[in-house]
Amino acid sequence: MKTHVIVFPGSNCDRDVAVAIQNIIGSSPEMVWHKDSTINQSDLIVVPGGFSYGDYLRCGAMASTSPIMKSVIENANKGVPVMGICNGFQILIESGLLQGALMRNSSLSFICRDIIIKPTNTKTIFTNKSTISKMPIAHNEGNYFANSNQIKEIEDNDQIAFQYCDENGDINAHSNPNGSINNIAGVFNKSKNVLGMMPHPERAAESIHGCDDGRNIFESLLS
């Protein structure tokens, strides 16, 4: 499998996801500098987490205009799997590949801790091996919002990827860490080849992390 990880100035989970890809998918990804203009022939493009451009403007807004994003969008439109994690999710929203908005956490604080998510649609390339999974979040702006028309549309199209839930899989206010509407933790595009998610599967990818539930997302891509 040929994989690519985009590196923006301020990306800081690029290495982490590259290690997870190497360990789980079995080959190391090509790291692509944001000023490069094309990605040819990819089986997976990852837009990693971090603070691209320091998130000094709206998160992901600057990075979404980087030269490489044109090629990411073209690849996505051709059906290449594209995955945005955390800041990468914010970038994919800003670039128009995914719907909705990510607002400041309802607590108004950065939150770093384990949460539990439940796959809402397990018939996609990213989630066919997914079950209720524990993995960390680490963000200040992960409060997903979409207006009622958009929510209806993404629900009708099975575009909700993950929802925050409790240990029993119940989706409730108590298990929602950041105020996301309908506990949404990740969404797909219409064709389900683009995934954006706030939790970090690459930080729950080996026993040393205390939990390796994040592996199932990468393993799904292999099957």
């Binding site: 100035p9 989970c13 982490d16 987490g49 603070f51 770093c112 680490a138 930080r203 040393i208």
Partner: protein, 732 residues
């Protein structure tokens, strides 16, 4: 000298406003053979203030043990370096940012993190962990909440953005910090042994290069401000606080590490306190050379900046380097790729002088040795106060006290309650190598790509230091050592951050001297040398000093991560043992302060032989796989430590103990003790080994159930413990 015989052309008030004493000014005139101009006066002020010159502390710091078989670089460089096998080294240091954090908590704390990160990556190391030690005033003081929120926000804001995990630290509250909070930040980095970078300039004619952010007018005289006491008008000093830009620091980190892979850098120095002044002078001094700088070439953020402002600005995210002339274009291309400034601003000379030009005119010419070797050094007068007397407590004084109720009060107190509210605001998992997260005895991070790890702990008990500075100094060292042992690591070395009041007061100087003596004795005995550090004096407001606070940051090595230990109880049916002697020492304990609002009774004495014996026993048991969890018995004593293990592991325990003086046993703060969890099939071996090693062990009880129950006393549910433990910060 009295003002009447002031015979210089320079205004006396100008000298005083630069924080220089009149005899220090005389020394400058003598050294230069003339009076300094304003720029030169500013440079002397920046180099000779307490923060940069260590003039009150140097004499005493030299008494600390600084060498050892794993020490590659001791104090004197940007950070210390230790060998962690396989060609790898750990690089670390702790630094204070107290004064600025009180004036502007978010930026003060953020730039404290930024500064210590630069100290570490300047040495060629990729930072892998941030730690901190924070002291705030009374929780109910009107400023405390604002300061806590700001400092926590600033530490998180900087560390999260640059993508280095903040893996732990300590936070305490005491009224002695009402007017001077402490923000001590520590960074640990990993490098290759043959790729360490130093600051000594070399090669006459080699280019001196400025990289990073532009220079603005922020932070001018920051180091001088940090070398003075506060008074009611200190708010006006806010403009001396710098503003942090973690995004630029991230770019600077990546650009420096990229350039360090090439054979281009001869010397590199972070522009920290006193900015361009201290970085250029330190590089020249260490290399025994001179440096010429053309200040017109310095990238500037503001128009019409003067030589004085350029030399004294503490704008952040800047570095000074001497590079190989042939690699200049390669270096420039790397910094341009990362959108950073790169400017050749001067050259290395053989004059042994710092010579500055701007707009074609000479602005300063100072022999380096006057600035550095001839810097004032004081052996200040000191008085050692007698330690507060020990008080012996008797069981009959406690007959009407409810142990479990007292436990709940203690674990809900700001000084002992859960710090989850804080660490959840820090990204403690980025880099995906965090093995033990905040909340255990020591944080553990994996050395990337290996199966070994680094354990890190910061600690200090200022109350102990206040009541017996010698034992308090020992305690701070030993507490980190014990935390590292409890995590399964071999303790290797420490960094220190010496936070004290005004050293011109003999009793404050006495505290400093005694803390150093205690630290030195502990470090020597434990083979645990000091490899870097920082001194912060004048932590006083309106003449009131803080408690003596020698914060220690310890680092250890876990060769095989499968030996990593945490505090959470693992399995029902296992047995909890107490290792070490208990003598009911309630003096200056958390029990007295929280339950009885008393602060007296002396500091527990530390028997270093016992520390060494018990610590070695614990490490031996861990390597034999006898233990399931380990917790150092520290603040609050045995019962608080048990509660922390239960809360962390979501396990109950049935305690079966018979003692004459239960309060003394459960809440006493005797030293050299650990709690260990052992499975049934290893009990015998543990007891045999302990007896062979002459280590005292005591069975506490069996793990299981949903409560802490104590025979003959009663029980308290885990859910209630958790509620009490998390309540205070959740309502913050």
């Amino acid at each position: 000298m009295t003002s009447s015989n002031w015979h210089f052309d320079t205004e006396k008030s100008l000298v005083e406003s630069h924080g220089l004493k009149l005899d220090e000014f005389e020394k400058i005139v003598e050294g230069l053979g003339r009076e300094p101009n304003l720029t030169e006066l500013g440079i002397f002020s920046a180099m000779w203030n307490e923060h940069c010159s260590y003039k009150s502390s140097k004499y005493w710091l030299k008494k600390l043990p600084t060498s050892g078989e794993r020490v590659i670089q001791g104090p004197g460089e940007n950070a210390g370096v230790i060998d962690i096998d396989d060609g790898d080294v750990a690089v670390f240091k702790m630094e204070s940012h107290n004064h600025p954090s009180f004036l502007e908590p978010y930026q003060g704390a953020a730039t404290g993190v930024g500064g210590i990160l630069r100290d570490v990556f300047t040495m060629g190391a990729r930072p892998v962990a941030n730690m901190n030690a924070l002291r705030f005033g009374d929780p109910n003081h009107p400023k405390t909440k604002h300061l806590v929120s700001g400092v926590v926000g600033g530490i998180g804001g900087y560390g999260n953005c640059i993508g280095i995990p903040t893996v732990g630290g300590e936070v305490n509250f005491h009224p002695s910090y009402n007017g001077n909070i402490l923000v001590n930040a520590m960074t640990v980095g990993i490098a290759k042994k043959d790729k360490i970078f130093y600051s000594a300039a070399a090669g006459i004619g080699n280019p001196v290069v400025y990289v990073g952010s532009k220079t603005g007018r922020d932070g001018i005289h920051g180091a001088t401000m940090a070398s003075a006491e506060f008074d009611d008008d200190s708010e006006e000093k806010k403009p001396t606080v710098q503003v942090g830009d973690p995004f630029t620091e991230k770019l600077l980190l990546e650009a420096c590490l990229e350039l360090m892979k090439e054979d281009a850098i001869i010397a590199i120095q972070d522009m920290g306190a006193a900015g361009l002044t201290s970085s250029s002078i330190e590089m020249a001094s260490k290399g025994n050379v001179g440096i010429d700088i053309n200040l017109s070439k310095v990238p500037m953020r503001a128009a019409n900046m003067t030589a004085y402002e350029l030399m004294l600005s503490e704008s952040q995210e800047r570095m000074l380097m001497v590079i190989q002339p042939k690699k200049e274009e390669l270096a420039r291309s790397i910094f341009k790729k990362w959108d950073l400034e790169f400017e050749v601003i001067g050259e290395v000379t053989d004059t042994k002088k710092l010579i500055l030009h701007m707009n074609g005119e000479e602005q300063a010419s100072i022999p380096i040795n006057i600035l550095v070797e001839d810097a004032p050094e004081y052996q200040r007068d000191y008085i050692v106060n007698d330690p507060s007397p020990l008080i012996s407590f008797e069981s009959k004084d406690f007959e009407d006290k409810d142990i479990l109720n007292d436990l709940l009060k203690m674990i809900s107190h700001p000084n002992l309650c859960s710090r989850k509210w804080i660490w959840e605001q820090y990204d403690h998992m980025v880099m995906a190598d965090t093995v033990v997260r905040p909340g255990s005895d020591a944080a553990v991070v994996r050395v990337h790509g290996t199966n070994k790890g680094i354990a890190i702990s910061t600690d200090c008990s200022p109350t102990y230091c206040r009541h017996n500075s010698y034992e308090g100094g020992k305690h701070a060292v030993v507490e980190t050592w014990r935390n590292i042992v409890a995590s399964g690591a071999e303790p290797i070395a420490i960094t220190d951050c010496m936070n004290f009041g005004n050293p011109e007061k003999p009793e404050i100087m006495g505290q400093f001297v005694e803390c150093i003596r205690g630290m030195g004795d502990a470090c020597s005995k434990l083979n645990y040398p000091v490899i870097s550090g920082n001194v912060s004096l004048y932590n006083e407001t309106n003449g009131e000093g803080i408690y003596p606070t020698p914060v220690i940051g310890g680092v250890g090595l876990i060769r095989d991560l499968s030996n990593t230990m945490t505090i959470d109880l693992k399995n029902e049916g296992n047995v909890l043992y107490l290792i070490g002697e208990s003598n009911n020492h309630l003096g200056n304990s958390h029990y007295l302060s929280i339950i009885q609002s008393r602060e007296d009774g002396g500091t527990p004495s530390i028997n270093l032989d016992d520390e060494l014996k018990n610590g070695k026993f614990i490490l031996d048991c861990i390597s034999k796989k006898l233990l399931k969890s380990v917790h150092d018995v520290g603040e609050g004593g045995v019962l608080v430590a048990i509660a922390e293990m239960c809360i962390s592991g979501k396990q109950g325990i049935k305690i079966d103990i018979t003692k004459d003086f239960l309060h003394g046993f459960f809440f006493g703060e005797d030293q050299a003790r650990y709690l260990v969890e052992v499975s049934q099939n290893k009990l015998e071996q543990l007891e045999v080994d302990a007896s062979k090693s002459a280590v005292k062990i005591e069975r506490i009880g069996e793990i299981g159930g949903t409560s802490i129950s104590i025979n003959s006393i009663g029980e308290v549910e885990l859910s209630s413990l958790i509620d009490h433990h998390t309540k205070w910060f959740n309502e913050f």
